[in-house]
Amino acid sequence: MEAHRRPVNAALVALALVPLTACSSPRSLYRWGAYEDSVHELTANPDAVDVGRELERMLEVVRASRDYGSPVPPGVHAHVGYLYSLQGDLDSARAAFLSEKELYPESTAFVDGVLARMGAQPKAEGGQP
């Protein structure tokens, strides 16, 4: 678990080095990109979602976090996994859900349940979690 939290640990070290600036400026833990917009798209218009477009901008959130050296925000990998499952790409969906669990062990019960249900579905139909 510690190994997967390296960005957070790095943030801790940075905070310890500059305690005064850290106190006076509100720091963002994450880079959110289009996540809020994508959540809105998927929940407000679930039957009219352009899955390819959502996947594209969510993979950009993952990329930007990595480029910036900050952890991918909570829920983003799982959101990506769900989008892959909508496309019928269950292998990529599984990998994304596993990334969620790896980065955030808090999601273990949830992710294991999703993976079990995906495993129970015939691959050809491209099911949803």
Partner: protein, 219 residues
């Protein structure tokens, strides 16, 4: 000079009053919260107590970010919503009625956030237009059902106050109504409401275990 001094006096009085105001606020009691310190939070789609169809999912999209920035693991709200819909729960009222034990079994969340939207959107009155968002939240411990924290917040943003007497105000209200057809300020006001709901220094939520400064904001 004398006007400067009186300004300074007024300022000093204002500061003094503000301090008194702060001191007289009832101290918050975080005992139950700290006894059941959550690490992960399941956010369910909000109950909509407005007549605006956009309110429920407009509000839902705003809460993950401030909660996660406070140091909590927040379950992926869109995935949770889709899963519940696919399992025969098409409305937020039905989702919020799922027993805690069942939610615990499926998600393993330490706490569940129950939200409601009480106001949403822009209202046009005779003289002015304003956008109001009111959010109410209860954080419930999944194991015990105890209320760990609750808070409600209203954010109101006036628009069309350019002056010019009664006629000017009427024109402004009309102009706002027209321009709002292009630009809807509600999502921005909702983001502000969600931000204040969780981050208000007095009534907000204490930082969670994923925050580097976890524990430093306790009284």
């Amino acid at each position: 000079m004398s006007s400067l001094t009186s300004t300074a006096r007024a300022l000093a009085l204002g500061v003094a009053l503000a301090l008194v105001g702060c001191a007289s606020a009832p101290p918050r009691d975080d005992t139950v919260f700290l006894q059941h310190q959550p690490r992960s939070i399941l956010v369910l789609p909000p109950l909509d107590h407005t007549l605006e169809p956009a309110a429920c999912y407009g509000a839902l999209a705003t809460v993950t970010r401030p909660l996660a920035e406070l140091g909590y693991y927040v379950f992926p709200v869109a995935v949770v919503d889709a899963m519940m819909r696919q399992n025969g729960l098409p409305t937020s009222a039905e989702m919020q009625a799922v027993p805690l034990a069942k939610l615990n079994e499926i998600f393993g969340a330490d706490a569940v956030l129950y939200l409601s939207v009480e106001d949403w959107g822009t209202s046009y009155q005779v003289l002015t237009a304003g956008t109001t968002v009111t959010l109410a939240a209860r954080l419930i411990d999944t194991e015990t059902g105890l209320d760990l924290w609750h808070q409600s917040v209203t954010v109101q943003k006036a628009s069309g106050n350019g002056g010019g007497g009664l006629g000017g105000l009427l024109v402004n209200a009309l102009a706002t109504q027209l321009s709002s057809a292009v630009y809807d300020p509600t999502p921005e006001v909702a983001r502000e409401a969600a931000h204040r709901l969780f981050l208000d220094p007095r009534g907000g939520l204490l930082r969670g275990p994923l925050h580097p400064e976890f524990g430093q904001d306790r009284k």
